[in-house]
Amino acid sequence: MNDMTPSLAAPMLHARGISKFFPGTIALDDVELVLHAGEVHALLGENGAGKSTLIKCLTGAYRRDGGVIILDGAEVAPESTAASQKLGIGTVYQEVNLLPNLTVAENLFLGRQPMRGPFLARRKMNAEARDVLASYGLDIDPAEPLSAYSVAIQQVVAIARAVEMSGKVLILDEPTASLDRDEVALLFGVIRQLTARGLAVVFVTHFLDQVFEISDRATILRNGRIVDSCIIRDVTQRDVVTMMLGRQLESRVERKTVAPAGKALVEFKGLTKRGMIEPFDLTVHEGEVVGLAGLLGSGRSETCNLIFGVVAADEGETHLRGQPVSINRPRDAVAQRFALCPEDRKVDGIVGDLSVRDNIIIALQARQGWMKPIPRAKVQEIAERYVRALDIRLASLDMPIRLLSGGNQQKALLARWLATNPDFLILDEPTRGIDVGAHAEIIALIDQLRADGMALLVASSELEELVAYSTRVIVLRDRKQVGELNGDEITPDNIVRAIADEKEDA
């Protein structure tokens, strides 16, 4: 925290009425961002809220469609990231975008190396690099390759480079995502030094604890609009979570009364993967939908992936109908009649150039083995059945699946797994990025599958949706299970409370 009262000073950067349109969507709608010298300003919002778009508009990576940016009293219109760097806006991304095989000094000075005639003044460069890094509290050898140091130190080098080149505004896009506790402390020390030097820092993160630890103010975005801009001291974590997740009362789905679940199908004991998710126990019964709630990065997808063997667990046991089973690869999971619809459809789900028909049949075929091809007629019958049942809209089963819309791709992936007749279906963000119609249909389908006795585990960031179909909700936070809600306890308010509360009791 600093002693300045930021509201009195003229802002370092004032972006007003920023708008950005993409075909079919409004990514940013009349957004305002005020940054003062010497403050850490958190930019918060769930995925798709518009944080990245706003940053890209500020740094010139995107051309904005409306609005004014005033930097240090003068209006600017950066056309490229290089131009905005020159103006004084530096950015550091989550994946350090430096060159790991060059030395620290080279990374720091790339593009503006000290020269002696036509040659690189290497000794001078290393000496200057050492001075710069020392001012960040780093005593490292600048002649070593960057890759010799930890991600945190690389991150600081990236920050140093950005600050040396720009020096007015520093945007940190999820800088702490892959850092451990001590490294975060190191980074925060650097950030505090920089604000003391009068820089304005924008801090984008999903970790609320860190927001409350380092930030002075926060701007919260949702669906491309500003929800609020507040002073962190005056709000609680719960307020912030509520603002981020929002509440769309008008689209509220009625919660159905649900028959009691059947007997336990799968049981996970102490399953864990270091750096991904803390050990957890979880039991899923037949005829039950277990919802996984939590902010981004809280471990929802990690839980799904660990259960399905996408990453092998360090420790822990999996029991299926009371018998221990070992699942180290997705193939093992498929053999046990598990199914996983992944979060990232394009990267982990569809096989883009293959036909919709092949995409639907592929998991069943893979389980049967290549030597037992499913007869053409049978393939056609299965594909047609699911296209009809799930109302997949397509011109022909022969068309490559990548040409389908997001919602139809998702339904085709559901069809792929339903065709394998799974006992345990894991859905990771089943409704992300799909249109309203398909959204309602998928929710109805989840309900139907539960009623038919399937065991389901559904991770979702949409609270209303979780409330609509879950028989139980597990709440995750900082890669740990922190709560469980049952029956009538399952309301959006209670989920928000469970996501945010822990800190306030402490």
């Binding site: 399905f308 996408v310 690869r329 997705p330 193939r331 999971a333 498929v334 053999a335 996983l340 992944p342 990267v347 982990d348 789900g349 569809i350 096989v351 883009g352 150039d353 293959l354 092949d358 049949i361 592929i362 998991a363 075929q365 893979a366 389980r367 049967q368 083995g369 290549w370 030597m371 037992k372 091809p373 499913i374 809209r393 397509l394 011109a395 022909s396 022969d398 068309m399 040409l403 792929r416």
Partner: protein
Amino acid sequence: MGPKPSLLKRILPQLIILAAALLLNVIVFPDFFQIDFRNGRLFGNLIDVLNRGAPVALLCIGMTLVIATKGIDLSVGAVMAISGAVAASTVVEGHGWGTALLAALLAGGLCGLWNGFLVAVLRIQPIVATLVLMVAGRGIAQLVTEGKILTFSNEGLIQLGSGTVFGLPTPILIWVVLGALVTFVVRRSALGMLIEAIGINERSSRLAGINSRVLLVCVYLLTGLCAALAGVIVAADIKGADANNAGLWLELDAILAVVIGGNSLLGGRFSIVASLLGALIIQSINSVILLSGMPPEFNLVIKAALILTILVIQSPRMGNLIYLIRATGPQPQPEATRARPKKEATQ
């Protein structure tokens, strides 16, 4: 809907290019299509094209599948040298031609397994992984032949390279049968689809439960076996194993055949038939150069020019250009018919 018309549509460009290449042959040598039956054997330039094209045709059967998985196998030429050397040394030691063939296939299979192990298990990039054997393979072949050209006179083995079956040269029979067999197995089983899936998106494929590791090893194994057969044919043809020159640069011809066959080096959808046509196109071009009576020092340059022409015609840019010229042409009617598939695609 059925597979027949779609196959024809798929290989139509290759058929047209092959026809053009054959036409060039007829222009430089009017009797090109003449086929005689003498001494119980078919003779003719067309038969020569099919016969001389056998090594590349065999190589490109396996290469097509490897490339479909987003891989590549640079070692096939060297594997040809190894298996040729193994076959030759086996008959020289007094074993029969059957044993020699089996030994050569075993050597090729081992080479394929080695490549598959590097690519699928150690996850080394295919181009680097197979480069190892490309370089080491000729050395291994020289060790087998003890540094000399190993000649032999085993009739059975020689028959594989220069004999005939029902008047047809044996090499033709071998590549046609193997090509048909692999195409049949790959398309009738689910293998083809699973291989394509791995090539297009290995992550998704793995998540869908496909055993990509075993499939990759199998594909490299098959390529090794194909190379072994090609190596035996080449050795049998010259009645000797030449560790330095057998199959030299043929890996590049095989890759080229696959590319001319319209298969993307980025993996995914593949057609073995189209690759085989690609191999025939390359051999037809070789034939044009030979028959034209040009001095041999022009051969490689002319071949490169012809192949460049084919690749330019097949390039996406050129495809767009042809499409544009046709779309902006004087007749307005075809526009409506051509607009339809585009609309379908966006729905």
